[in-house]
Symmetry: C2
Subunit: 145 residues, 2 copies
């Protein structure tokens, strides 16, 4: 799974974003290879490791633009940090509370029924399911602190 600069530019134009050097590079880093789940900080590190020089402000701008354009999906897992997912199709997540790592739950592995009606005058725009897991032999906090 790869993406050259031309493909990245085409993708960006197709969602109405100018294919700048930074956006093309970030699109390739995010969409054409792992990881599928990352924070702004992680993407910034990935970019620097890949030799792509992008400011943190631009990382944030780009993440929000991609999210709004439907290229990414923002995940809210912990307060105080945002995660983004390059998989925008319907699915859910495991969150490992010990390691902080995220993994996918395929849509078909988690079926919701007895689905509630939205409140008066509202429509459902998204359903997020987070299954929080931890190791059986949990280090640290047990019952008391």
């Amino acid at each position: 799974m790869t993406m050259d600069m031309g493909q990245a530019a085409t993708l960006l134009r197709s969602v109405g974003l100018r294919p700048t050097r930074q956006r093309q590079a970030l699109a390739r880093l995010m969409l054409a290879r792992g990881p599928r789940h990352f924070s702004a900080e992680q993407l910034h590190d990935d970019a620097r490791i890949a030799g792509v020089d992008v400011s943190l402000a631009t990382i944030y701008n780009t993440l929000h633009q991609f999210n709004d354009a439907g290229l990414l999906r923002e995940l809210v897992i912990e307060s105080g940090r945002s995660y983004f997912d390059t998989n925008t199709s319907e699915h859910h997540h495991f969150y490992d509370e010990d390691t902080g790592s995220l993994s996918d739950i395929p849509a078909e592995a988690m079926v919701l029924n007895a689905f509630p009606d939205a409140p008066e005058g509202r429509e459902i725009c998204r359903v997020d399911v987070v299954v929080r897991v931890r190791s059986r032999s949990r280090p640290g906090k047990t019952t008391k602190d």
Copy 2:
């Protein structure tokens, strides 16, 4: 639904917390009346309005202690702000993206089946479902920004 200082003290002692003036007052504010969902800031305001003088640091300490003691449940809905729920029984939430308000979905209104296995060596400690809703005639952001 009310709770006097004596009852608050008993409750606190039953979960291993010293019944200080602040904790008793906050227990009464949180557990004996609405709202059921609130942020630290909201609780701080509620306390001040009720004439209870408590520092924000103590609000945070208390919220975490109550959460660890099982008196509250922390909800992660938006990055950058924590919410707490006085309803600790199993249930899920509607989150109104326009107003930021939370409402409960009773456990029986939302049945999950085809439940996935936890990853190797992990156990499921909690399942959070957030159904995000918004008004049908959405003000502001449409397709583009």
